[in-house]
Each structure stands twice: as C-alpha cells, then as structure tokens.
C-alpha cells in the first residue's frame, strides 16, 4: 500500500516538518510507503505529482490551515487530522487506515 500526505501549520516553521518526519518514519517502521509534501514557510516542497496521487491508496492531510491545490485529491479517500495528532500518535492513524481500507 502506498499513501500520500500533505503537512501544513499556521507559522509553517515547526509542526509542518515535525509531522512530515513523523509520518515518514512511522511508515518506514510499519512498512508502508508514504510520500509527504510540506507546505511551510519555504513554500511547497517534495511536491506530490499527479502520478503519486493517482497511485496512492489514500491521502493524509495533517494540516492546521487550508491546503493549497486541494483539488488534486478530488475523488480520493482523505484522512484529515491536525499536525499535532500526526506528531503525537502516528501509528494509530496508520492502523486506522489499514483497517478501513481492509489491507
């Protein structure tokens, strides 16, 4: 299973990157491939391509502000949480996704 994610927070200097790191390392730990785009003070980095989104089983939005280019995810299954949640209990999120998608 592969996932894509976007992280963003109000100031764009801390939670955006902490959440991204937490999602990536938890994915590695659980053997789930996840590509994370950050929308922080430095703008969009590691941007998700159309193919990335197309091939993903679901989209994780760990955001505290509106996401830029949200229309890319139209029609995809979206899990929207706060960046704090992504930092605090990332495993719970992955478990939930696995359960719901029956993987």
């Amino acid at each position: 299973m592969t996932l894509v994610a976007v992280t963003a927070c109000p100031t764009g200097i801390a939670h955006t990157y902490m959440a991204a790191e937490q999602l990536e390392r938890t994915g590695r730990k659980l053997g789930i491939k996840i590509k994370v785009e950050t929308q922080g003070a430095m703008g969009i980095e590691n941007e998700l391509s159309a193919a990335d989104v197309r091939d993903a089983a679901a989209v994780v939005l760990a955001v505290g502000i509106p996401v830029l280019k949200r229309e890319r995810f139209d029609g995809k299954k979206i899990y929207e949480i706060s960046p704090q949640e992504a930092i605090k209990s990332p495993e719970a999120l992955f478990v939930r996704i696995k359960d719901e998608l029956g993987l």
């Binding site: 109000p10 100031t11 200097i13 801390a14 939670h15 955006t16 990157y17 902490m18 991204a20 790191e21 937490q22 390392r25 950050t38 922080g40 003070a41 430095m42 505290g64 706060s82 704090q84 949640e85 930092i87 605090k88």
Partner: protein, 855 residues
Amino acid sequence: MAFEFEFAFPLPLGLHARPAGVIQEKAESFAGDVVWENLRNGLAADAKSVLSLVATDTRFRDPCRVRIAGPEGAEAGRELRGLILETLPRLESAAEEAAPAAASDIPRILLAEKAVFFRGVPAGPGIARGAAFIHDPGPGEAEDRSGPVRSPEVETAAFRAAANDLAAGILGRREQSRERTERAVLAAHLAILRDRAFTAKVEEIIASGTRGAAAAALLAGRHFSEMLSASPSPYLQERMADVRDISRRLAARIAGPAAPASEPEIVLSEPVILAAEDLSPSQFILMDKTLLRGLILEKAGVTSHTLILCRTRGIPAMAGCPGILTRLRPGEAVLLDGGRGLAVPAPSAAVARYYEREAAAEEKRAGLRRARAVLPGRTADGRRVEIAANIGDPQDLAGALAEGAEGVGLFRTELLLLGRRSAPDEEEQTALYTRLATESGGKPVIVRTFDIGGDKPLPFLPLPAESNPFLGFRGIRLYERFADLILVQMRALLRAAASGPLKIMVPMVATAEELVAARGLLEKARAGLAAAGIPHRPDVEFGMMVEVPSAALIVDRLADYADFFSVGSNDLLQYTFAADRGNPAVRGLNRPLHPAFLRLLRSVVDGAHERGRWVGLCGEIAAESRLLPVLVGLGFDELSMTPSAVPDIKARLRTLDGEACRELVRGVLTSGLVREVEEALDGFSAAGPSKDGLIVPALVNLRSTSRTKFEALQELAALLEGADRAADRAEVEAALWRREDTFSTGIGFGMAIPHCLSPAVRAASVGVLRFENPVAWDSADGRPVELALMLAIPAIEKSKGDAPAEQHAAPAEQGSLKYLARLSRRLVHDEFRDGLKAAADAAEVVRLVSAALAD
C-alpha cells in the same frame, strides 16, 4: 507696510505654551502688531500674548496666516516664518518626541489570573511598585484670600509686586535647574505670568473695584482656562492646567504667608505610586521625589508638562485613566507598568512574580545596552567600521554617545542660523563648538561649515530667488561672496579645536578649485588668530563632503587638499540620477543599490584609500540595516547616522563577515540592473547566518526557574534580547503568544516548541529552556513540559490592500528556515529529545542542536 504669509502649522503636538512662548518673544521684538489667524477655525490672536496664541487651538497642519504691521513688515515676516517652520520643529524636546508607543499587548498573565487592572495611556516607561497614595487637592480654590478689597491702586500695586516676586522666584529656579525640560516648563510659566492679555485681564478686574488682587488673579486664571477648555483639543486642556497653576500661585503670593496654602504640599513617607486627578508642574518640581516610584494622573494627557518632567526623570507614569482615583485604596500595593500603560492594584503572587522578572529583565537590558554602547564598531572578522551620529544640536550629543555612537560624523551648523536676524558672532560660536569638543569625551566630532542656499533663506544673507536651488547657489559656492561669515566660523572652530578633537568639513564641493579657495579661508583664519595671539589648534583636520558626482570622480586628486572625505549620499544620489528626492514622481529613480551608484561610491572609496585618506558616509542610507553588507564591502571607514539607528547597525555589523561583504560587492559592480544587485544582496544575507550562529550558549538556560508558561515565554524573549537578537522584548513575547493562541506548541513527550515570526527578531535563533519544575503547557498529551525549544525568525510585514498586515519570513531568511525545518524533523526522534533533556551544560545543548542542523 504690512506683510503676511500663510503656512501649515508644523508641530505634531499643536501650538502649546512652549512654542507659543518662542513666537511671542520674537513678535515682541517687532514694533508693529502681529496677528496670528488660524484659518481652520477662524480664531485670531495677538501674537504678543502667549495665552492668546494658545487659545487659537492651532493643531498640526492647520492652515494659518500671520500678518505683521509696521515698518519692518517684510523682513520681520521672513524671520518669523523661518522661526515657525525651521526652528520650532527642532526645539520640540526629545522627551516629547519620545511619545509613548501605542499600548502594546496586555501581558497574558493578567488575563489568566483575572487580575483587576486599569488601562491608561503609557506616559513614562518602566515598572514600579509602591503603596497607592491618593492625592486629593481638597476643596476648590477660595474665591478671596485677601480680606476686604482696598483701592484699585493699592490692589494693582499688590498684584504687580506679587507677580514680580513670583517671576523672580521662577527665574531663580530656572537658573538653578540643570534639566532642560524643567527649564523649558518654567520658561513657559514665566511667559504666562508676563502675558499681556493675562496682566490686562487681572488689572481690568481690579479696576472694576469689586475684587481684590488675589481674587482677580484667580478669576483671570479661570477666564483663560475656561477659554482654553472650550476647545476640544487635549493639548489646550493641558495648557489650562498651566494657567491655573500660575494663577493659584499668584493668588497665594498676594495673600501672603498667613493665608492657607493654595495647594497642599505633598509629603511622602514610604515608596509610593502617586495617583492624582492632575498635578501641577510646580507641585511636581517642588515636591521631594525620593520616594516617588510612579505617577498616575487621571485627567492629564501625555503632553502635560508634569508628565514630560516625569519622563525625563525616568519615573514610570501613566495618564488618562478616568475613575482610577476612586477605585484604588490608599495604602494598597500597586504595580505600575508605565511602558504598557497598566496599573495593577493588589497584584496576586503570580502577577507580582512576573513583574519582578520583568523588572529584572529590564535592568539587564539597560546594563547590556550600556555595555554594548562602548563596544567598537567591528565586523565578526574584526574589520573596523566606525559608527557615528549625525546631529544638529549640542543638546543631542550626550544622547548619541549613550546610544553607542563612536563620534559625530556630521554636525550641521546651519541650524544655528535659522530664525535669527544676524549670524552668531565668533564668541558665541566658539563657546558652542568648545562645548561639542569637550563633551564628546575624546571622540571625534566632524563639524560641517554652513550649508546654506536658496532653499533655506536667511534674513541676513541676501540670496537671489532661484528656479532650481538644488542646482544653484549653495554650500561652498557661497563662501567667496560671504567670506566674512565663513571666516568667523573657521576662527571659532580653530579656537574650539584647542579643547578637543574637532574636524572641519566643507559642503557641496564640485571642483578642486573650490576646495583650494576654502583652504585659503582656513589659512587666513589661522593666520589671523596666530597674529592676534589667540589660542587655537593650527593643525585641525580639514575634509570635504562628497555630494556631487564631479567630486566623486576625482577624489584621488582632491586628496591633495583634503585630509578626509564623507559621502553625503542623499544629494549624491539625486545628482547621480538627476531625480529630485522631494519629487514623488521621480524620486524612485534614486536607488542606492543601483550599480551606477555603487561604482561611483567605489571610485570615492578607492580614490581616498589610494591616497591614505579616511572616508565615511553620512547620508540616510547609513542607517539602513539591509544595505550594511554593501557599505561595509565597499570599504567605508565610518558610517554616520541618526543616533537612534546606532545600536541596531552596530549589532548587525557584529554579525557580518567583512571579507564576504567585499566579495559580494566585487560580484555586483558589473551588474546592469538594480534587481540583480538586490537579489545578490538577499542571497548573501540568506547565506549569512551560518547554522552555527543559530544557537549560542547565551540562548540556553538549563536551570530555568520559570514556573508557568507566562514566565517561560517571558524568559525566552529575554534570552533573545540578552543575546543581542531582539529589538523589542515585549513584542517577541507577544508574537510567541500569538502563535500559542492558534494551538499550543506543547507537542507532547514533555516538550514544547514555542516559535514566532516577528520583525522584532534581529537574527534567526534557537533558544532552549530546561525547567527545574515541569511547566503546564496545554500539551497535546496533557503532560507538563520539561524542555522548551524556541524558534525565532525575523519577519517583514506585508500588507495586501486593506487586509491587516501579515508577517512573512524576511527573504533573507530562507537559509535559516531550512535549518530550522531540519531541526524540527529531528525533534520527533526520541533519542534527540532525550539527549537535550539530559544535557550536562549549555555547551552540550549547542553541540547537539548544531549537529542536528548539520544532518
């Protein structure tokens, strides 16, 4: 022949008693009547009466007309116009300009503790604590203190004697006073006491035969204060207090010592916060202030003379808080936060503790400011750049030195000439320059000889009207025609230089011939002094301003006649681009970062250095922090600026690498577009703060005694300030709180990462606190916080249309943002957090964080 002129009133605080006193004094020297008319409200005044002038309620930018009758009409008119438009704006004292800032954010702890507090207008910064002392002036003024009414002749004589007596007392006090503001206030009181309209009113009441002298003085005082109070202007309401103050003292004087005192004397027996409806300036001046910790005036506005006196003494104060008198209980403890305009009665232990820490941080800040003021201007790699101040009044010298100026790079002498009928003579000038030389404490003072011209007309220098004064007869170009005036100035400068390190600089030089002629004048002045046996310093350094491109291109040749150079960048810019800096349609052309201008500056610096001459810059761009790498890279030996910019520029200079600045300039000199230079400069600044600079031991406290989030954010802002990285501690604290407001930065795991983007942050920084006792932070997992790691980033304000300004990371901060993003990513790793929590000392924290940044 009558003469009249119209103008917009130039003083932001309106026509109050002090400027009115200056105008009255000048008007008094003319034979004919002088009428002042405020065209906004139609009120007219006799300009020979201060009260009458003040009653016109003239405010900032009001259209006014002054009409002068009599033989001196035209000349007197020009003189008066110069006085109003040129001299008055410069006389407004520093204490007044230091208008209290807009009330900043209320410390969150007051809201959290549900503390009772009163808001007022900040009227004197600082934090004070004392017992509430409510000053109640008692029953209203007695109508008559002098017993039965005697004959008008006797009463008039009593009034005149008392007025003379009181005036003599005020004069004596003024002479003793060492404080400039106090002297000015006393002078204003004297002006009211001697005012023609006031005196006439008192004598008119006495002549009616119904009132004695004391009652007449009180009635006249009331008459004028009612007249003033009819105006909605808060400034006039303040002046009302001055009039009442004087009339009461006059009445008391007439009544004699046997009569009850007009105002009870204020006697303090413990440290107090004094609260009063209002306090007259005389009461303030006369009272013993040793136990006065703070002052709250319910009715006064910040321009009240009493509050101005208070500020110059450094006593915290607050004004304009109706109702506070009845709500403070005498004797209860009160905290006064003068900088924010807050008074907190009976503060809780937590609030008191917060403010104790605030006062300690403030004391530390003042100490660091003093310590930094004596640091020499130097880049991080040790290249010396002298940071000096531009001033025009010897009064400003002490303030400039206190800000850390290493000398005066430009003393403008033409201000001495404005508003005068004749040039100051040699003795007067010698005294003034000697004062500069002796009070500079051995630091160099560069005095620029008179820079006058068609745009600054003077009554004693008949100059033709010019269609284009900036390209006309000005600066050194006048020196041949007015050689006597310059000769006197040069003699005075040579004499004064005997007592301190003065240097002489001439303005507007375009050719070597002009410079040679000016040197000839200097030589003549020297020979004259030597022949007369007058003590002087013969070998004073003689330099020139570089303001004209023709001079900028031959600095190496001008060095034959000049010992040093200073670039006047304001004029050099507009002459280089042929764009009037006063004309909004074209002034945008004057871009200091344009490669053409940089090449011109390079030729000035190289030309001077080739000949072993020293070269500085004294225009407005010296104060622009953003341009500093370019000016340093060009190789200037000195930058001279407005005194208030000195601390920031010195702090930025300490972070720059001199060699990298040179490299930057070498790279952009061949550019063709200003945008290319700007991009290179932004790129340079972004690369500037190395990852090692983001955290230093001074930004780490592993034994924090902060007990609450309030104290922790306060301490982090203070750490940043202590490390020379915050321009405004309170603003950084408020910015950290604004971020906490969106959602708590407590990320769980016993950690919080407070952060902010703020223009008050000088350099991107990481700060770390480890708490002795874990602090509640509304964390995601509910656990208290053991460790707080702050990320602080400089920001710029961007406003889009009418939307409130948003703060964005400064473009130069992309590099630090990248490092901080890296650090944030590390924070979710347990071993990194555990390492920080267990660190033995600040050095280890710095090492761990730096390693994370380098990953």
